[in-house]
Symmetry: C2
Amino acid sequence: MGKKQRTAIEPTREQNYPEWYQQVIRAADLAENSPVRGCMVIKPWGYSLWENMQQGLDKMFKDTGHKNAYFPLFIPMRFMQKEAQHVEGFAKECAVVTHHRLEADDDGMLQPAGKLDEPLVVRPTSETIIGEMFAKWIHSYRDLPLLINQWANVVRWEMRTRLFLRTTEFLWQEGHTAHATAEEAQAETIQMLNIYAQFAEEQMAMPVIKGEKSESERFPGALRTYSIEAMMQDRKALQAGTSHFLGQNFSKAADIKFLDDEGQLRHAWTTSWGVSTRLIGALIMTHSDDDGMIIPPRLAPAHVVILPILHDDEHHSAILDYCHQLRRELQDVNYAGRNLTIELDDRDIRGGEKTWSWIKKGVPIRLEVGRREYEEGNVFMGRRDKGHRDRKTLSKGEFVATAADILADIQQTIFNKARKFRDENIVKIDSREDFYDYFTPKNKDKAEIHGGFALCHWDGSVETEEKIKDELSVTIRNIPETSEEEDGKCVMTGKPSKRRVIFAKAY
Amino acid sequence: MGKKQRTAIEPTREQNYPEWYQQVIRAADLAENSPVRGCMVIKPWGYSLWENMQQGLDKMFKDTGHKNAYFPLFIPMRFMQKEAQHVEGFAKECAVVTHHRLEADDDGMLQPAGKLDEPLVVRPTSETIIGEMFAKWIHSYRDLPLLINQWANVVRWEMRTRLFLRTTEFLWQEGHTAHATAEEAQAETIQMLNIYAQFAEEQMAMPVIKGEKSESERFPGALRTYSIEAMMQDRKALQAGTSHFLGQNFSKAADIKFLDDEGQLRHAWTTSWGVSTRLIGALIMTHSDDDGMIIPPRLAPAHVVILPILHDDEHHSAILDYCHQLRRELQDVNYAGRNLTIELDDRDIRGGEKTWSWIKKGVPIRLEVGRREYEEGNVFMGRRDKGHRDRKTLSKGEFVATAADILADIQQTIFNKARKFRDENIVKIDSREDFYDYFTPKNKDKAEIHGGFALCHWDGSVETEEKIKDELSVTIRNIPETSEEEDGKCVMTGKPSKRRVIFAKAY
């Protein structure tokens, strides 16, 4: 290929993956750190990704009978006490409100004042407060199932944060449902897992593996936790969504009871499930390349950017008119159930800088329009999933007529590429030696790049999991739904095992 | 007419307005108080009103070039210090986070631990943190205008709370924009005021009066504050939205500077504007009657409810099939840019109870379908804006064909009714005696019901405003945009005045 091209993002993935991730976010103008420790500012381009994700998921939730509601930001400390007694792995790192006023002291400096009788915790999750309300709302089997979702901000005090992946405050949705029977609650748990997987694959173009978590990775208090796991380009796993079957544990703690159709008082069966702004981190690390973000068309804040080339004064307004007309035609095109969103960038900056800003932002299609395109009734199209020099000329009419197909093709292409990458980096490993070798980085300078996903037999014990975690920082991601029963031996202990699980390093 | 009907809501508006308000909320299942002092739980029916309002406003914001973003929940206390020095009317009642962990003491009781070096305030508004970011983002005139909006929760510690109208936590949007010139910022301020008024009138069917606030009612630090004011059915005013021209005050405090096109460093001109879940309170008090909520079709979570009457076993499934078919046909009907949302209530409860539950919830159209309607291919329609006995039979086809028109008619009818009520309760008052008389309740038992809006001349002094506020609890709502210049005398002091202002009691 001749001499090495300079890339828009430095360092490259190969050179320094974690730093590459930060630089993609900066180059695409998605988010930045705020003056508030561990809290991020989500900038318009990043926030519109979240809006599109919300819209996609919200429709799927509503189509399956869920309703949105809103619960308080604050949780009385006594609720957490209940929780603390109930579950061992209780999260204690949370923001605590102890005062309700600021008052100036003698030097005119503000100080907390108005001490609260009972401290309030900023919700790390709303399980307890929603449980309290469910107990009030549910009386008889006629009130079930109760299918509630909330879109909200939550706070978990984090010492080491990374934009989107781990922040003190983040945005999420939390579904909470109550059912009359264990079977119904279990079916709901799986339904929501499937919705997450469908959303990830169809809208985010991100292949995921559905499966159940091992006991030690379960949500505290849950009977069963399921997850979808995706592979990032450094071959680490990212847990992209979880769905919990909570049995009657939470309904007993919150006293959620109902009269069944025979007049018997019973505890309800509950579930909870959630995804967060972490998905944006997953999106970035699934598709982006060394030139920046690549956004799947289904979630793109803009599907097409039109870039008029205006250095020719004589034809300036004619070219602009042509671009505006093109925009109007494209705005009527329907793709995946909504009309296209088109950017027309007529900023007075250098053409190269302008084009690169949209490459870095990850817009699926760029259309350059200069004097030649205008005169010949064409557009000069670049696709973000192809190299930035791989462009071609189409007639305007042909492009408008096929824009939706091209977008669908981009969506499919980046999904296929991500799936191929993932599948190439899943291996079955049956010996302890190979297992250690697989998860030991070959180059110490690139500590983040290691093997990938290992499908291995495991003896089912927490001790084995802990040993692997301690020695290799590798965990069981989940027991894949597709993992077939077979006779095998645990990769660590040689004890008998019936199914393979996925081992990986994880975010 | 004859004997007095019992109403679904007790007490009636006439009997006890504040209690009627609470009972409408309860009967329509919109929201309730939570175990967290001053914080409400917004239940699905109430939350879907907020979702529809968000959707309507968000489109208007985006159509005028604004982008959504998200800023941190927490504000470092030193930012508030800056604010405290800057503006006198600074709000100090806010939730203060002082610790970041819960730890069990020797008795196993959780206590706040991990004291923060600097307390954090839960945002009462995001002016300061957004100002900080704007200062980072804005460098040159090319970065302007910067047009940002945020949908978020905010917290203001309130001692006396009322669902939707005044709660410690509430949901809102806050727009924040920066401009190169005063004229542009002023134009933005007015544009957003107009958007609020248009939204209130066209979507909420709530007539409003646009105008500028008097100096003493201005947002602290603003050069000019504008509001939209609506009249509730107790003839009090409710401020339904505000838009502030902040001049350079905030840009100086936050150091938001830009290089103009001549290379000169200048402070930007900023605006801010917001509406909140208070609008739901306004919606309730504008339209509801003594039978419960009346929801304008443009914001209705469900436009039509189908009520099968199923006590006839023989035709049970045929009637249900007929209802499902009706629903499918109606779901394809477009009204005001979106497809109709239809509820089909086949719960096994008494017909009267079922019908009344939807009357109380305020669904615009009810369709009862029993054996007769099914056999004759009809529906038996009730409109929520008419008396609950005022129903009529239409053929199914005719109803489907005209459903959008009927909804448009309901929207217009309730707007007209609210406007008529408001206009009948605005009077010009020119004498001090009449003014006192107007604002003195005639019946001490019904302290909340008084005159209405008084259009009066005012001498422009803060002293006069304060005297009126002290003696009558009446304030200047705004100086209506439509108030024409005329020579007059202040209703209190007799001093000269050029324009009438609106005086009213207010929420």
